[in-house]
Amino acid sequence: MNAASAVVGGVVSGWIACGFDEITLLIPMEDAGARIDADELDSASGHLQLGLLRWQDDQWPAYRLDRELIPVQWQTNASTVVLPVCSNGQARGIVCDQIRVFDHPVAVSLHPVPGCLRERPSPVIALGLYETLRVGLVVRGDSLIRHLDAALKSMTP
């Protein structure tokens, strides 16, 4: 198991960089599906859901997140892209401004989250350095899905 695999707790064959609101999530390829355009989403009626994506014969909600990784209201447009994030037979769509693929595990070097930044429980398991100077937030599909479910539950009146 290489260093990246040890940090994320499984084999990593590459990374998806998903950018929105001036942050970048770095997600192992194993936890992400192929990007889709917003106009491919089916309509949705759930709280803050921007549409439903089809994944493994089921439909799953897509959300836009703010820089605190909380779902927010958002108006999709023609250039909106959605990244399916999946784990244990579940998926959620993350509405992004940009999606990039790094199809090699060492394209991202992993660094621990410094102690002074660990104020609250977070789905961010590490920080990733890529393209020499850029920093992304490393998340796994299961922790991100759990975080989204908890955030939405806390917003429900």
């Binding site: 942050i23 820089r67 410094p114 102690g115 002074c116």
Partner: protein
Amino acid sequence: MSELSAKAWLLEFSRNQVAAVGLHELVEVLSRPKLYHVPMASPRSHQVLVWRDEILPVVDFGAISTSEPEDALPGGVVTAIAVYQTVPGEPLRHGALQLAVMPRTLTVTDNMACAFPETNSSLDKLTISCFSFENYAVPIIDLTRVFERAPREL
């Protein structure tokens, strides 16, 4: 008997919030480096920067003390790279401190020692000792606590 003295850096986080570290504890000053936000962190430390292939935490004590506009200092913010060691013999670690002005050196002598002020400042639990300088009680801060512990743990 001669008095013991040591060189230190005076760090100004905002107009009413200063601290000091040893001369060997600052290694570089950067002007407006690119900062990256980290979610679900505290107001004083929610950013990182890239420095010499490392990702360093950025701590901004001014972020919590400058709620009053008169506390803000004129001029650009500078970022000081600090070095510390969690345990003797372990590799050195680095972190970054946001400052309101360029740090300046001063000489601290034994007779400048003073009691901790009862300010309820965010620096209270990070302070090793304190000295008096230009009408300020200047805390000497422990960089390991600054960078290794979340504010809620202090």
